[in-house]
Point group: C2
């Protein structure tokens, strides 16, 4: 833990620095695999699945039997927990629906904006030690509410060719239309170009390792949208004397167990809080199964004392944390003042875990400072805003002359002409 | 003009192909200039301005005197036309404001979503023959409505160090906070890293040549957001017998004059319409000052006859045009059926020029098929959706057990622990 007292503003950018990641060596691999998938489709996907995952299955499309079997393997308790989470996530995202926005901007000129679903979306769910069925809920539910026609999920199987039952159960529950046993770069490539088996999609969502991250970034060069540029997960806690140090430490540790590159920061106006949290972290960390990971992150964590709340919020906005927990007597000051954060957790009874799983908010959030310009995943991430306009004879007479003048001033005569011809026709 | 009758579905992707652009040779230049700007700031910006634009000015920040002078140079007619456009664009974008979305997802668990402005945005306005002051309106007005704190505009000056007066007038009118006489790659680099003079921004908007396009794409690797990946402008017109062929031709030509790589497509269920539009294009094209450009585009244009409206809309959705004009007796069929388009123009009196300048809708729209997953620029482009949650003692008791079970099933014990500690404290 790095403890920093009263950092000068000039040093903020140094303190707030995230470790930079260089992916240049991975890029070549991604390019090669994408090219092969574009040319050879399924054959290439199978080749790389065999090469990277050491497995080869004829049928990568998950069957209804497999889904039914998975449902029988998920415990009743877990099913009920998933149902609770599902309802909360569903309700919060369904409330984000927006109505058509219609404005008669000038007599005879009606403009409107409507959101329409992205027709085909791809969800990537990583394999590995932690089966992220919670991410299935976070991505498939808003896709379902948005009414995306095809919701395709790719996830790598284990050596026996199986997918974690909780992932299959959640996918089925949340309206995923097709599930494929494919992971890594080859999954992203297949979703980008489409193969004989895997449909091409228009936008790809979901977390992944560095290979998946680079592949998603590269996919954008082929006209595919992606949710958010990915980076290591982050938590910044602001705590004053009113915070419970035990809880604060547990929140910092929950972030720390994600990966060795996770970012954990405490900002406080209480010197006592720093030593209390430090002690609590030491007390709690050894009990954790993932303590080897957590210890590395905690070693790199920063506990920062600042003198005023104003300084604190300025500092936090400069960092733009993915997750921001605020435990303060003065919480409204922070709620109103936070300009850059993915998701905000308020008060001693609001752990980040709540938003990770079950409160209703989405857990796919901007990291790495992207909270300055990016939204976390929400209902609109699965739709696009389209505009429409209809102009009557009166309308074009009202705004036509202005268009003519402006087009003329920009030197675009054909633009002007499209209006002049219509105005002339109306004069007759 | 390529006239295509009854294309088979298997040939659609070939017909709909856009010319691919390769920017690999430009990329190296962009990387080099970015690196130098990151290290040397203003000095590097000045070096490249001098090198590329052949100009060198000590003061790149436009002064109030220059803005005042520009206002006096814009004609009264043009000022009035800009005011008409401004009011329509302002009203349409202001109507896109969304309220806070608050849901009590479970007793004691309150979640809400709020949109907050991106604090600093950069607008790029190209120089060159056409002074795109209309783009200033389209970008600065929603930024102003969103309440972005800093709205920085960069545009290259002419050899005399001047910026087109209409650009300065529009910028001043729409709340731009700072204007810099810098263009090209060096402008995008300066906005990405910030220099002694030019502030760093969080998101960059606006069109530009291939150098600017590649620079914007590269900027995203440094945590900066961009509006939309850029590509050549496009128009697809659907016209049945009810369409006015003269108007249709004028619309196709207004798109064609943009650049030699512009895309122009007519889809129709009327064979007669094809020959009528063809004749009209030939009649109108020679009158255009930009006919050299328009002729190249028209040569590459496609006039496509299909037998049914169902086939037409399927074809159009597959193409996903930036601009889509529909002149049909059956317009509702197309309005309801269009799934992928940037902006839709309905009826004989609704030229694309209206949306380009003054009806109220935005003209910064997704090209190159991106309309399948991207929105055009709108109010939300200048904001990000943030989520908040506050959980009471009752709330964590209600959802806590579900979180524990899910975290446990994902193997994330520290996530579970953050909840268990809170639940245990409440049991005492």
């Amino acid at each position: 833990m790095q403890i920093i007292f009263n950092p000068k503003k000039e040093s903020w950018s140094e303190i707030l620095k995230r470790p930079t990641q260089s992916f240049e060596d991975i890029e070549e691999t991604v390019k090669e695999i994408f090219k092969e998938i574009q040319q050879k489709g399924d054959v290439a996907v199978q080749k790389y699945t065999s090469l990277f995952d050491g497995t080869l299955f004829e049928n990568i499309l998950v069957s209804q039997e497999e889904i039914d079997e998975a449902a029988s393997l998920v415990s009743k308790d877990l099913k009920e927990a998933i149902e609770v989470a599902k309802n909360n996530i569903y309700n919060f995202h369904a409330a984000q629906k927006t109505e058509k926005v219609e404005v008669i901007t000038t007599n005879g000129v009606t403009c409107w904006q409507e959101k329409r679903p992205i027709q085909r979306v791809g969800l990537y769910i990583p394999g590995g030690s932690a089966p992220l069925f919670s991410t299935v809920l976070m991505l498939a539910l808003p896709a379902q509410i948005a009414a995306c026609k095809e919701i395709v999920l790719c996830t790598p199987p284990n050596k026996e060719g199986k997918i974690n039952p909780a992932i299959l159960f959640s996918a089925q529950l949340c309206g995923v239309t097709k599930i494929f046993k494919v992971g890594g770069i080859q999954a992203i490539g297949a979703l980008t170009f489409g193969t004989e088996t895997i449909p091409q999609v228009y936008k790809i969502f979901g977390p992944g390792n560095q290979f998946v991250t680079v592949a998603k970034q590269y996919a954008t060069q082929f006209g595919v949208g992606i949710d958010i540029p990915a980076g290591p997960s982050e938590l910044l806690v602001y705590a004053d004397d009113s915070a419970n140090a035990t809880f604060v430490a547990s929140d910092l540790l929950s972030q720390a167990e994600h990966g060795k590159d996770s970012q954990v920061i405490l900002v406080t106006t209480s010197k006592e809080m720093i030593s209390k949290v430090e002690k609590e972290i030491i007390a709690q960390i050894d009990e954790l199964p993932r303590k080897e990971i957590a210890k590395v992150t905690i070693q790199n964590s920063r506990l920062i004392y600042v003198t005023t709340e104003t300084e604190a919020i300025e500092f936090i906005n400069e960092y733009a944390p993915e997750h921001f927990i605020v435990c303060s007597k003065n919480e409204d000051f922070f709620i109103n003042g936070i300009a850059n954060a993915g998701s905000v957790f308020i008060g001693n009874n609001t752990p980040e875990s709540a938003g990770d799983y079950a409160s209703g908010t989405n857990h796919t959030l901007p990291t790495n400072g992207y909270a300055k310009s990016y939204s976390g995943v929400n209902l609109d991430s699965f739709m696009k805003a389209m505009t429409f306009q209809k102009i009557t004879e009166e309308g074009i007479q009202n705004i036509g002359p202005s268009i003519e003048i402006m087009a003329d001033a920009e030197g675009l005569q054909a633009h002007k002409n499209a209006v002049s011809l219509r105005l002339n026709a109306l004069k007759k």
